[in-house]
């Protein structure tokens, strides 16, 4: 794969639930966990999705239905042609002693990161936070993984709570060497805040999302206020160091016009 558009037939679809599915394509690529692809649904739109797994002859993305595009994606069947480009951006760096923190669909790239960590025989732990059990993809696979702790906001699976809440206890049990997080921005900032309570800080690798149009660093759509860093090129995974100077954390994201909506206008999913 490359930045040029190529179309592939969907090889298979894994249905986690009605609004949460994984799609596999016959495609071999070199990609770091956390890197993303642009996925084109002909006639609809093209949007960024992280790789949730890379296998011998297949790659996989996991899509959660949140709006028009992702809802339409739920109708995609094996055999359908879909455009794929990428991988784009900078991903996570697997490190021994890493703790993965995922919120909701943000766990998709962490699944690929966990795959890499295991392949490289690096010890890690993974805290998965979901609103409710329904939001959990790959449930059977995860059940068999001793590294995984699942928490849910409604206690429908695992303990009740948010992913960040369990970090302090985990660190007491065994010091966290690095934090790798992916999920809603408030969660990322909470993880960052947690890491900063230590001295020295716990290094963080946080995967951000911004509206994207080009993914090749040219349209400026995904640039972060304060530094001009491009989430599509320098990100989506940014380090604590790169976060310094960014002034827009937690504010509503610029939309397709480039305008940043006021807090009121912004529609939040997740």
């Amino acid at each position: 794969m490359s930045e040029y558009m190529q179309t592939y037939q969907v090889k298979r679809v894994l249905t986690h639930n009605e609004g949460l599915k994984s799609f596999r394509f016959d495609r071999v690529i070199e990609a770091a966990p956390g890197q993303f692809v642009l996925v084109w649904l002909p006639g609809a739109d093209e949007k960024p999705f992280a790789l949730s797994g890379v296998f011998d002859h297949e790659i996989e993305i996991t899509v959660k239905a949140v709006g028009p595009f992702t809802k339409q994606f739920m109708n995609v069947k094996a055999g359908d042609w879909v455009g794929l480009r990428g991988p784009f951006g900078n991903g996570f760096q697997p490190i021994e002693g890493m703790v993965l923190v995922g919120g909701g669909i943000g766990n998709a790239p962490l699944r690929y990161l966990a795959q890499c960590l295991r392949e490289e025989k690096l010890l890690f732990r993974w805290v998965i936070g979901v609103k409710t059990a329904e939001d959990l993809a790959f449930r059977d696979e995860l059940a068999s993984m001793p590294e995984v702790t699942i928490v849910s906001e409604d206690s429908s699976i695992g303990k009740k709570g948010r992913a960040v809440d369990v970090l302090a206890a985990m660190n007491d049990h065994e010091p966290i060497i690095v934090l790798a997080a992916s999920g809603p921005e408030p969660m990322l900032l909470a993880v960052h805040g947690f890491a900063n309570t230590f001295s020295p800080d716990i290094p963080v690798q946080l995967s951000f999302e911004r509206y994207m149009k080009c993914a090749v660093g040219i349209c400026g759509q995904c640039c972060l206020d304060g530094t001009g860093l491009r989430v599509c090129v320098e990100g989506p995974v940014l380090s604590g160091h790169q976060l310094q100077g960014v002034t827009e954390w937690g504010r509503p994201h610029r939309g397709p016009s480039g305008r940043r909506p006021t807090q009121k206008q912004a529609v939040h999913h997740d």
Partner: protein, 307 residues
């Protein structure tokens, strides 16, 4: 040390001839400042119109091996938001910033120009390459000398104290004629060229155009010879300074543009093909090129290929 790269563009002092082209990293003060820090002599903001527009769905920007196809459909945050970003930029940086504007009708141009002028940009670029919805064949304003002249005149009348550059496209019958219309109606400079075509890529499996808008303008290295010729023709027709734009990736490309008649040189797609370091790389290679040949000012090369 003398700065061999210094140029005077319609009275604006640039420390380097390289101008970030409109539409590239140009939506926010922060992204513009990042490019300014990396060595651009001036930065151009994304073209804005009267109102916010979401533009076309994606794919809207498509690499194709020799550059990009783009059809962002005039996506822009609207002139008021842009005024705020430009003001913020001017607090952050001393590098000259060029605002870029478009109108959906002839009358909108002076309106947007007057509003963007509130941000006191170093220059206002008037992007006439957008389609003229009123026209018979949907051609861009830039294809009609009368319309380009009229837009120039109206903008000039509303904005007297900020230099204006008219941004032209190849899609016309005679660039010389269009350039004269700009000069005759008070333009201070010409930016040439906008993206070329449009072009179309069709996916053989899906059997439909890949761009959501079906077609989009070509940019990048493939269009360099077209842009150099355009600059040549404009320079032969009028004496206005030209921001030569299209496909520039290297110091030699910059020299070609200047030899053809450009005063400054736009860099857009090279941010994708070469990365953001393209500005510092070109600056230092250009310095070496000039030093080796004992050239102390780019103005000595300007138009020198007109033999």
């Amino acid at each position: 040390m003398i700065n061999r790269l210094h140029v005077d563009l319609a009275g604006i002092e640039l420390a380097s001839p390289l101008v970030l082209a409109s539409g590239v990293m140009g939506l926010s003060a922060s992204s513009l400042e990042r490019v300014a820090e990396l060595g651009a002599g001036a930065v151009t903001a994304k073209s804005c119109g009267l109102e916010e527009r979401k533009g076309h769905p994606c794919p809207a920007i498509l690499p194709f091996g020799f550059g990009l196809l783009n059809a962002v459909g005039l996506a822009n945050p609207g002139v008021d938001e842009m005024v705020a970003e430009l003001r913020a930029f001017r607090l952050l940086s001393d590098v000259p910033v060029i605002a870029s504007i478009f109108g959906k009708t002839v009358e909108e141009f002076p309106e947007v120009a007057a509003r963007i002028a509130e941000a006191r940009p170093a220059m206002i670029e008037v992007n006439v390459s957008c389609p003229n919805v009123a026209g018979e064949f949907g051609q861009p304003f830039s294809s009609d000398p009368a319309l380009v002249g009229e837009i120039t005149r109206l903008v000039r009348a509303r904005v007297s104290d900020i230099p204006i550059s008219i941004k032209l496209s190849l899609q016309c019958l005679s660039l010389a004629q269009i350039a004269k219309a700009c000069a005759d109606n008070g333009a201070d400079a010409i930016t040439a060229i906008n993206s070329v075509g449009p072009g179309m890529i069709i996916d053989p499996n899906v059997r439909r155009p890949v761009l959501a808008n079906r077609m989009g303008g070509l940019s990048g290295p493939a269009i360099l010879p077209l842009a150099v010729r355009a600059v040549w023709e404009i320079a032969a027709a009028v004496s206005l300074p030209i921001i030569g734009t299209g496909g520039v990736e290297t110091a030699e490309d910059v020299v070609q543009m200047v030899l053809a008649g450009a005063t400054a040189v736009g860099v857009g797609t090279a941010v994708y093909t070469r990365g953001l370091e393209v500005f510092s790389t070109i600056n230092s290679d250009l310095h070496v090129f000039m030093q080796e040949r004992g050239i102390t000012s780019l103005s000595d090369l300007k138009g020198a290929a007109h033999v």
